[in-house]
């Protein structure tokens, strides 16, 4: 097995009732890369994310992470192995402040195992993480209730939640959706910095132009199937991809 492969998806299939959402999808994720996943609406991107992270059980096929079988594990165990995801529609804890939102992942067994007693006060660690991700500490932003935040902050909070778990792999489900161009421009450096520090990232995106600026490789899905997997330049030129997005010519 190639030592650089951090995640392996082999032949997964999933149907919901009569609808075949994922049809025999396979791919490898290389350590330290940013893999983009694009495709028209309904192509099964989010279902794929759900399958990998355990929120949905595959009908057949397997998922491996560094040799360990992920298929069949419940979501919390997969997160415990260092594979985390953001949600397309942010899911903050509305009744808690942004800071307290992060206390939850810091209370997880993964953190307790790897860091143990040296974690210190969870509130402080939470504030540090939030500051790194752009929550201005001076303006008391971390203390505000999560229900008051606009979309850009909520997306960052999602990312912060993932980072709090000290993962190896982050799967970002449409991180850029709902953000303005300037907000995206502010987020891109954060993503790049993560990758440069050794994080492996999968980005499921609709905003193809922005994605192609940072992705190393891109996978294209359509109607539940993988129709292409290559570097961004090749994808742009691919006839197959154009047909998928624009229809049969």
């Amino acid at each position: 097995m190639n030592k650089n492969v951090i995640l392996q998806v082999k032949g997964v299939n999933k149907s919901f009732g009569g609808v075949k959402a994922i049809h025999h999808v396979s791919f490898d994720l290389l350590k330290g890369e940013i893999l983009g996943i694009i495709g028209p609406n309904g192509s099964g991107k989010t279902t794929l994310v759900n399958l990998i992270t355990g929120f949905v059980k595959a009908d057949s096929g397997l998922v491996f992470a560094e040799g360990k079988k992920l298929s069949g594990l419940p979501p919390y165990k997969i997160a415990g192995l260092g594979i985390v995801r953001t949600f397309q529609i942010p899911r903050p804890y509305h009744s808690l402040s942004a800071m307290k939102n992060l206390v939850v992942p810091l209370y997880s067994s993964r953190i307790m195992r790897t860091i143990g007693g040296k974690l210190g006060d969870r509130d402080t660690v939470a504030l540090d993480i939030l500051e790194e991700i752009g929550f201005e500490r001076d303006a008391h932003v971390p203390y505000k209730h999560a229900s008051t935040f606009p979309e850009g902050y909520l997306k960052r909070l999602e990312l912060a939640r993932c980072l709090a778990l000290r993962p190896h792999v982050i799967i970002m489900d449409e991180l850029f959706s709902g953000l303005s161009v300037s907000e995206i421009t502010a987020m891109i450096p954060i993503v790049e910095k993560l990758q440069m520090n050794g994080m492996t990232i999968i980005m499921v995106e609709h905003r193809v132009r922005e994605l192609f600026q940072i992705a190393h490789r891109v996978m294209v899905m359509n109607f539940g199937e993988k129709i292409a997997e290559d570097v961004p330049d090749a994808i742009i030129k691919s006839e197959l991809v154009k047909q998928a997005y624009l229809g049969v010519t």
Partner: protein
């Protein structure tokens, strides 16, 4: 043979009791804890009409079923509609209303054995060597008729189809012009009517007591959980499973163990197949 026939009767009884609850839950995702209250409300109303107002039996039955449906629909339209969407509040509110109604009857003194409804046809008949009273046979007949008419209603009338539509996908139905609130009122009215039908057919077998109300609620819920919340076939499956197991328990182990069996089945269902025997666990709903 004895067991088969009485098991059948019991199962039909359970199915009748549970159908009202299942309908309301299936269509509007509302667990109507006032179901038991509506059941005995129908019973007491029929008794009142028959014995205090001197209306003939058939008339009393019709009147009380109509009144119970109106009350059921009104409970939704004026009370439960305000807590729509907040599951905790829905449960508490319908439970509180149900208890208020049942305890009101208890206060008014409807606890002695004097309250009985006469059977439709007195006496019994012998079938295949088993003596069975006419009322029980009527129950089987009514049960089958109800199932058939419900099936026809929900598959061939506009209102019925809209009920099924909302049960399957609320948002898509709304986009087709079906109003969820109006449908919920209809569902609750029908559910109450079903409870009423069950009541007038089953109560002649015994007395009308407040305790019956609570028992009906428990039985209906047990059937729905075991068979699967939100599935018609589930109601039947659960009813038959529970009905026959109770008869078998009563016959071979002892009548007192019936309750234990109910308890056991519920726990087993929750552990082994939480969505019930034939329930459709809505995987999609819980997803991202």
């Amino acid at each position: 043979m004895n067991i088969f026939i009485f098991g059948l009767v019991n199962s039909v009884i359970l199915a009748l009791m549970a159908s009202g609850f299942a309908l309301v839950y299936g269509v509007s995702r509302l667990a109507n804890f006032a179901h038991g209250a509506l059941y005995i409300l129908a019973g007491f109303a029929t008794w009142l009409f028959l014995n205090r107002l001197g209306i003939n039996y058939i008339g009393s039955i019709f009147l009380s079923i109509i009144i119970v449906s109106i009350i059921g629909g009104a409970i939704y339209r004026f009370l439960l509609i305000r807590v729509k969407g907040m599951p905790a509040s829905e449960i508490i509110a319908s439970l509180a209303i149900g208890i208020a109604i049942m305890e009101l009857f208890r206060w008014r003194g409807f606890i002695s054995e004097a309250y009985m409804l006469p059977p439709f046809v007195a006496g019994s008949v012998s079938i295949a060597g088993v003596v069975i009273d006419w009322q029980r046979l009527i129950i089987i007949g009514v049960g089958l008729a109800m199932m058939l008419s419900l099936w026809l209603f929900t598959h061939h009338t506009k209102v019925g189809l809209s009920l099924r539509a909302i049960a399957q996908d609320k948002h898509a139905s709304m986009m087709s012009g079906i109003e969820p609130d109006r449908t919920a009122v209809i569902a609750l009215a029908m559910g109450s009517a079903l409870a009423g039908v069950a009541a007038v057919v089953i109560l002649p077998l015994g007395n009308i007591t407040v305790e019956t109300g609570y028992m009906v609620l428990i039985d209906a819920i047990a059937v729905c959980i075991i068979g699967g919340l939100g599935s018609w076939a589930g109601v039947l499956a659960g009813a038959f499973l529970l009905g026959f197991s109770r008869i078998l328990t009563a016959a071979f182990i002892g009548p007192h163990w019936q309750m234990v069996v109910v308890l056991l089945f519920i726990i087993l269902t929750l552990i082994l197949k939480p969505s019930g025997l034939l329930g459709r666990q809505k995987e999609l709903e819980e997803r991202v």
